[in-house]
Symmetry: C2
């Protein structure tokens, strides 16, 4: 290695020094407050204390960067999930869009009621009805075609309450938390019951989470040659359900390493939090509790979307952090007036 | 942001400038030759040209770093696979180790022949016999227990021909290629027919590939509470076979993004290379051809481990890069004398 090389590349050297200064100034700024949309209450203090412990060299709780895996549920944890999971609203919009090609749906439940606007009857069939709607709208095309359909829907559809695009319905405090963890050399993953092919087209743009760090439920895929070109066809069958006991299984299958921090909001996240908490060393588990009927919604123990009952009891018993959206978040959505 | 901050942190600033200089010197050194174990033949030149094109700002083939996904088969591409896949040798050692707890194996094939040292009869049952051996040795324990067993085996077992630990039987040119791609901001993944739980305990140490970037075949897992502690039990059933048509499916399931570069050595990798090649923009596909009976092994079209027939024809027809180990590699294994 010849040291005189450095004199032959002045532009690159200057650029690198500028980078170093940028990192320095950025980190100095971040130190002022990485979580400005969080009130200065117990959850924010618990997050900052945990990150300090896990990242400070020489700390007894120090975790090497490679092991700093943080997993986030999506629906109700990173973005809203009312009046229904957004993916279900997407599927219903797709049924309406595809109806002209399926005249038989006029006579067949759950499609008939859905097309008449009677959601209650359409969803009365429970999980079976929902699976029929998902199969009809999430298969019969290639992965590339589905990617396009999701992007088009997100670019045009509006949330029924706020009138905003669905990708605006994300929680500002959680965006700051994701950025804070990544700035602290955590690798952030989504581990969601939602469909992985429904999330991957937009998670990088909205959350800064690339497709390869999104774990979710999935349908079966089939590799085929069509006119000499390989495609992956989306089949109607369910391949993996990434919910409840499926979440730690999904973590092991897709990540292969136990997280040190887990963030959820419902009983569907309980096993993921248990699995995370049971590892040795620094651990952090957090539940978002929807307590803000004014700015968002207030719900927990009643059965339905975002059902939070057993996990809330276990969080209290084990000392996991519970965020009250009303009390602990200064701001909920990015579009809120300050 | 206050610029006077930089004067209050001189040690940090000095450290960052030193880092910048280190990066500069390291890259200046790397520019001298990132692939010293490759002969200066067509494959090396094709790799360097591809990486230049994909990474040079302003190049018509420029690929943003987030999309620089490179996928590598493991057996026969990153490490050897003769006289049998190392995972099969592991499974056979496990049968011998577990035999005292299974007296019934003395009377039952394929175990009986295997325990007598008659591999030919043991494996005469083909895939079914192999699945029986894998099920018996890769399940009935937790994921944590299996991780320990793999690590213990690798720490003690020796390759029957070289007498070296199996993790020494890796290809030096491919280690350099992995490092070169990562230095060029590629994200490197393994996409192997081998068991994901067999690879993850050591790929980070040996290849610099973390567990979350290893895609492989897998058995079913079950989340259970044992004495109040959550575990993931390894069940005997097959969950996913990451081979042939399964490879592009695995890429979509686990990575969710089409690679721009793919490296394999057998017909089991053909569909992965086809899927990679069919994307738009800069693409690179490479086959390692085992042509070196002296330093390694020479095999291709005959049926068996590393069967390379159709993929070799397709590589020639499509202009994919084919590496002849004998002609294109200056050195095969890291332990070879120079």
């Amino acid at each position: 290695m010849r040291t005189d090389r450095i004199y032959t590349m002045p532009i690159r050297a200057i650029w690198l020094v500028l980078c170093a200064l940028t990192i320095l100034l950025t980190s100095a700024h971040a130190q002022s407050d990485p979580l400005p949309s969080w009130n200065d209450t117990a959850p924010k203090r618990a997050i900052v204390t945990f990150v300090d412990r896990a990242t400070k060299a020489g700390s007894p709780d120090f975790v090497p960067p490679a092991e700093r895996i943080a997993v986030f549920d999506n629906d109700g944890t990173l973005w809203a999930e009312q009046p229904l999971y957004f993916q279900v609203l997407f599927a219903m919009d797709r049924v309406r869009a595809l109806a002209p090609q399926h005249p038989e749906w006029k006579e067949r439940e759950p499609f008939a009621s859905l097309l008449k606007g009677d959601m209650k009857t359409a969803l009365a069939g429970g999980e079976h009805a929902l699976l029929e709607i998902v199969a009809a709208t999430h298969s019969g095309m290639t992965t590339e075609e589905f990617d396009r359909v999701v992007k088009e829907w997100l670019a045009t559809a509006k949330h029924p309450k706020s009138g905003k695009p669905y990708t605006d319905m994300v929680y500002q405090p959680m965006l700051e938390l994701l950025a804070f963890l990544r700035a602290s050399e955590f690798k952030t993953f989504i581990v969601s019951g939602g469909g992985v092919e429904f999330m991957r087209p937009w998670t990088e743009r909205i959350y800064g989470i690339p497709p390869e760090q999104v774990v979710g439920s999935s349908g079966k895929l089939k590799f085929e040659m069509r006119d000499g070109r390989p495609v992956l066809a989306k089949l109607p069958g369910v391949d993996f359900v990434d919910d409840k006991e499926g979440k730690p299984v999904g973590i092991q299958k897709f990540i292969g390493r136990r997280p040190i921090a887990a963030f959820g909001n419902s009983d569907g996240d309980l096993q993921m939090l248990q699995w995370t908490a049971a590892g040795s060393g620094a651990r952090f588990c957090l539940l978002v509790h929807h307590t803000d009927a004014g700015r968002e919604w207030a719900y927990d123990r009643q059965f339905g979307v975002g059902h939070l009952d057993q996990a809330l009891d276990e969080a209290k018993a084990r000392g996991w952090t519970v965020v009250s959206m009303r009390d602990d978040w200064r701001r909920v959505f990015p579009f809120e007036k300050q």
